[in-house]
Symmetry: C2
Subunit: 232 residues, 2 copies
């Protein structure tokens, strides 16, 4: 339950040894959840006071926030939380489609049998959760992320893992939380996840790749519809 929660919020366990790490995690959460509004300016002195640290570790944290596209910095002018748009979300999903397709193919090649079995257990577990708590979107959301994270980690490609988990997924979560991107697809997602996992289990990288692309593509097309609605 809360294990799922924590795991999803930080897929790769980083012990947060430095104070910049701690503050980073807090600001990251605040930005993703919309506590610090999208598009709002970030004041270094203000945040430094708020978290009881100096500006040095804060700036370190801001640098990493920029890295995962949560804020934008302009030299000598300051940092702003990114603005969300259907266009931006679409551009994000275009990349996800390619990279997660690749990740899935590599996962089919490189995942250990134990990892696959654990992922299978996780899906069963999520399914029961979903049955019991029908309509509660948080578990579905967390479950979806958890599945994707594990597949990505299964690729064993460190660049790919870094790009997806550390650079893109915080923004994906920000979009989901703030634009309510948990549409009618959630029920279908489980079946698609199962199919993908089966392909991985069969070591059929090509099929796993295709299914993952289709899985993400379906979400992307939802976004395109909303974008079209907005433009007219």
């Amino acid at each position: 339950m809360s294990t799922i929660h924590m795991e999803v919020l930080s897929p790769i366990a980083k012990p947060a040894v430095t104070s910049a790490d701690r503050v980073l995690a807090q600001i990251q959460r605040a930005v993703v959840e919309g506590e610090i509004a999208a598009g709002s300016k970030i004041s270094e002195p203000e945040l430094a006071r708020k978290f009881n640290i100096s500006r040095a570790p804060l700036r370190e944290a801001l640098a990493r926030l920029e890295r995962c596209h949560l804020i934008e910095r302009i030299p000598n002018a300051g940092a702003r939380v990114v603005r969300l748009s259907y266009e931006g979300l679409l551009q994000l999903y275009q990349i996800r489609e390619e990279l997660e397709g690749l990740a899935c193919r590599l996962a089919a090649e490189h995942m250990a049998i134990e990892e696959i079995e654990q992922l299978q257990e996780l899906l069963d577990q999520h399914l029961s959760h979903q049955r019991v708590r029908e309509g509660e979107s948080y578990y579905q959301e967390a479950g979806d992320l958890d599945f994707h994270y594990r597949v990505i980690l299964g690729s064993k490609n460190p660049y790919l893992i870094n790009m997806l988990c550390d650079e893109l997924y915080y923004l994906v979560r920000m979009y989901r939380v703030q634009m309510g991107m948990n549409g009618p697809r959630v029920s279908r997602a489980f079946d698609e996840h199962k199919a993908i996992l089966t392909a991985i289990g069969n070591r059929d990288g090509e099929l796993a790749d295709l299914l993952m692309r289709r899985h993400i593509s379906a979400s992307r097309k939802n976004i395109e519809i909303k974008l079209a609605q907005q433009e007219k």
Copy 2:
């Protein structure tokens, strides 16, 4: 001549307004060219003295070097220049294949006619250079990068542009320079570039995508061969 040089070293013009920017560019070059050896430790006080700046902007620069995978930092322990390996290069090219394929498809959709014409001129120009200075690998190298950069920029997807140009390509260049990845393919590359550009000009995104993937895949297979040779 030197215009090509500069353009390739920094595809997106960033005016380097702050001292961290200047130092970043210098260290980036030094690492890519191997002036600071791969795998060597980075001493903050030493580099700070060397460039006549304080440690604050230096650390800012180091953070960005980590972002483009040129150095690795361990909390409380320090930073090291990355080590190069055929395995790492392969993982890099797996990602390039997907992302640049996508970029190429998007470029076919979004590039302005003027941009396509300019790119055509660039290819012609490079071809004549190649004929005159046969065997001089620098122009070929620069020309190749220049082509890829322009296609990526043509995608008009800011996340994609950032990931490829700012996060991956410095490392790609580092591999090319230090492992001499300018094999017998250089002569073929021009023809492949021309074919890709033709597809873009015809607004045939699907074909452009395929050709770009094949273009990069060919390089990747060269690496796989070297990796296999090394392992036996």
